[in-house]
Subunit: 249 residues, 2 copies
Amino acid sequence: MRKTKDTMGDGDPGREPHRGRIHGSIARTLGVAIVSGQYAPGDILNNEIDSSEQLQVSRSAYREAIRILAAKGLVESRPKTGTRVTPRARWSLLDPEVLAWLFVSEPSEEFLKGLYELRMTVEPAPAALAAERRDALQLERMRQALIQMQHETLATEAGQAADRDFHDTVLEATCNAPLFTLSSSIGAAVRWTTIFKQRKRELPRDPMPEHWMVFDAIAAARPDQAREAMERLVSLALQDTRAAIDPKR
Amino acid sequence: MRKTKDTMGDGDPGREPHRGRIHGSIARTLGVAIVSGQYAPGDILNNEIDSSEQLQVSRSAYREAIRILAAKGLVESRPKTGTRVTPRARWSLLDPEVLAWLFVSEPSEEFLKGLYELRMTVEPAPAALAAERRDALQLERMRQALIQMQHETLATEAGQAADRDFHDTVLEATCNAPLFTLSSSIGAAVRWTTIFKQRKRELPRDPMPEHWMVFDAIAAARPDQAREAMERLVSLALQDTRAAIDPKR
DNA sequence: AATTGCTATTTGTCAGACTTAATGGCGGAC
DNA sequence: GTCCGCCATTAAGTCTGACAAATAGCAATT
C-alpha cells in the first residue's frame, strides 16, 4: 500500500507551503541559497538521495530543480563528482529568475552599481534606434505609460509597472530581438532600484521631466537627442539611488 | 525481466547516438526545433507520454529536457493545458545554449544584424570602463590574446578563440558582474559572425589595426579613446559581414 | 442565461530498481 | 621504488509504473 502522502502538511509549521510546483520551489530555494553565497562556487551539494530526503521531496522533483539551476548556469552535475556550484562568471545574472533570487536577500551595493552601469551602457543606444524605428502604436504606448506613471507616481505598484512599460516599449521599438531580450533584465533593474530609492526617501524628486524628454526626442525622430536624454535619465536615477543608500548628502 | 536496453543502438541507423546526457540531447533537439520555427509560438507539444515514446526515452528524461527549455523561457507547462511554446519575446536569446541552437539552422540575416547592433550597443561603454579599471594582469592577457590572434589569423580556430579572449577580457576588466555576463553572448556573436565573414572571402581585411587601437587606448587609460576605438572596431566588422553576405559591393 | 459541479486529460509527484561514468585507490609490472 | 592499468566505489543518469493534483470544457441545474 502506498503511503499516499496523507501526512503531507502535518508538522512542518515553519515550512511555507509550496506556492507553485514543487520543482520550482526547490529551484528557488536552492537558487537563493547559491546566489546569496550560502554555497560558495566550487562547493558540492549533497548527493541527490540525501538532498531530496532533507527537502522532503522525491528524487525526481529534486532532479528537475537541479536541471533548472543548471540551465541557468548556477550548477553543473557530473556522475561520481556530484553537483557543484559553478563560478559566478558563468551564472546567467541577467535571467529574470536569477535576478529575482538575487534580490531576495539584499544584494550588495556593488551589484546595484553594476546594474546601473548596465542600464547606462545598454539603454542610450536603443533610445536612439527607437527614435528611428518606432511606429505610431509604440509611440502611443509610450505616451500612455508616461501618463499613467505621472498619475500614479513611483510610490505605487501601478506607477512602477508603467515605468517598466515605458522602458520595455523603447526596447521593443528597436525592432531588434536580441536587444529586446534585455528588457526583462532592464525591467528588473528598474524595479529593484526603484524599491531602493523609495525605501528611505518618500518622493525624492519628480522623475517625469527626464522621461518626457526621452519621449519627445523619440516622437520627434531625433536619435542623438534621444540618446542624450536617456543618458541623463539613467544618470539622474543613479544619483537618486546613491543618495538613498548613502545619506551623507 | 528488464529489457536491459540491450537492443540499444540496433536499427536506428539515422539517429545520432546521444552525445552527452539524454536530457541534454532532447533539450537540444526540441530547442533547435523551436527556435528554427518548426513549432510556432503558441503551439502545444504532444503530451509527455506520446512525446517520450516518439523520442524513445523515458518520461523522466523528457520532463527534465522540458524543464531546461522552460528555464530558458522557450516553453511553459501547465496541467491539463499541456506544454506550449512561449512567444519569442520571452525567449532568453542571449543564453549561450539558445544562441547555439539558433545557429544550428542558419539564422536570418535580420537576426545577424540584431547581434551586431547588440555589439555596437554593448561593447563601447565597457571598453571605456576597462580603460579606467583594468589591472596589469588583464592588460597582459589582452596583449597575449592579440598576439595570438595576429599569428594565427581569424582563419583558424585558435585565432578566433584569441579574438573572443580579447573581448572577454575587456568585459571582465569592467569589474562589473552583470556586464561580464554578456561576454558569453558577445562571444557567440563574435564567433558566428566571424564564420559568416570567413565563408565567402578568404581574408577580407586585416582586423588587427582596430584591435590594437582599442588595446592601446585601454593600456593608456584613456576611456573616451577606448570607446571610440571599439565603436570603430565593431563598425568595421559589420561592414565586412555585410560585404560577405551581400556581394554587390 | 448564468452558475455550478462533474469528468476527462494532462502535467506533477512519488518510489525503487538498474545503468553508466568517473574517480581514487590497489596491486602488479617494470 | 616508481609507474601504469585495473577494479571497486560512488554519484548522477535512466527507466518504469503508479498515483496526485489541477483545470479546461462540458453538462446539468437553477
